[in-house]
Assembly symmetry: C2
DNA sequence: TTGTATACATAAGATTGTTATGTATATTTG
DNA sequence: CAAATATACATAACAATCTTATGTATACAA
């Protein structure tokens, strides 16, 4: 598990990117998928995820449809067109940021990028 | 300039690493060095830096000596032994986190690490 | 002499996470 | 079958950490 400060600021990007690749997911599924994909190293808490999903929906990046499994409810999220654009931008920004950080930490001196 | 959320959680690592490489720096110098090294893409604000330096000093990672240039004061920071250990740990953690994030964002599918 | 740079510091406010709690159904296990 | 665990949503109190604004003070450039 990584110290939680690191995850700050990347959560929206993770969610948007996952939805871009998977097409349609519900909240709980996102937490499990991220946990699986990272061998438990990144664990999104529900207290962080649900407010983030609501916020992304409010700002027009996501739309929802409810589905009923027997009596239980699931809220599926999909990217809007705007959300697709935002997803790409966020991923690009994070990628560039990580390259800059690598350079700053002298981990990839040969790259010479900044 | 990167959106500021991304910098959250990496500031301590940046500072500790810089001091590890440079040996001795003062606050303002750190802001300028980071700005230069990243072509202005990462700009540490003083409102973020000084509290961080004070916190790192309080927790025993840094020690200070004052220097006077005429009438002006400068506070030079150096890593303690504990600070050197912390610096390495933080850099390692951030590096691993970035690899995990890369994998999660599917930027390096061939690596297969997580 | 006025603006910009250097150099420190702190406080109010915003953002975004953790931890705790709540509700409710479904499934597994002793 | 009862109890624990997993699924699935949600929100609130609290904490950490950043931005923005403000303050003090000296040095230098236009």
């Amino acid at each position: 598990m990584y110290s939680s400060e690191l995850i700050k600021g990347t959560l929206k990007t993770i969610v948007l990117n996952l939805l871009k690749e998977q097409g349609r997911m519900y909240g709980y599924e996102i937490t499990q998928r991220v946990k699986d994909l990272t061998n438990g190293k990144i664990q999104i808490t529900e207290g962080a995820l649900y407010p983030t999903l609501h916020s992304l929906e409010k700002s027009g990046e996501l739309e929802t449809e409810k589905e009923y499994l027997g009596k239980r409810v699931r809220k599926y999220y999909t990217l809007t067109e705007q959300g697709q654009t935002t997803a790409s931008q966020k991923v690009n920004e994070l990628t560039e940021f990580m390259q800059t950080m690598k350079f700053l930490l002298d981990l990839d001196p040969q790259l010479g990028n900044a």
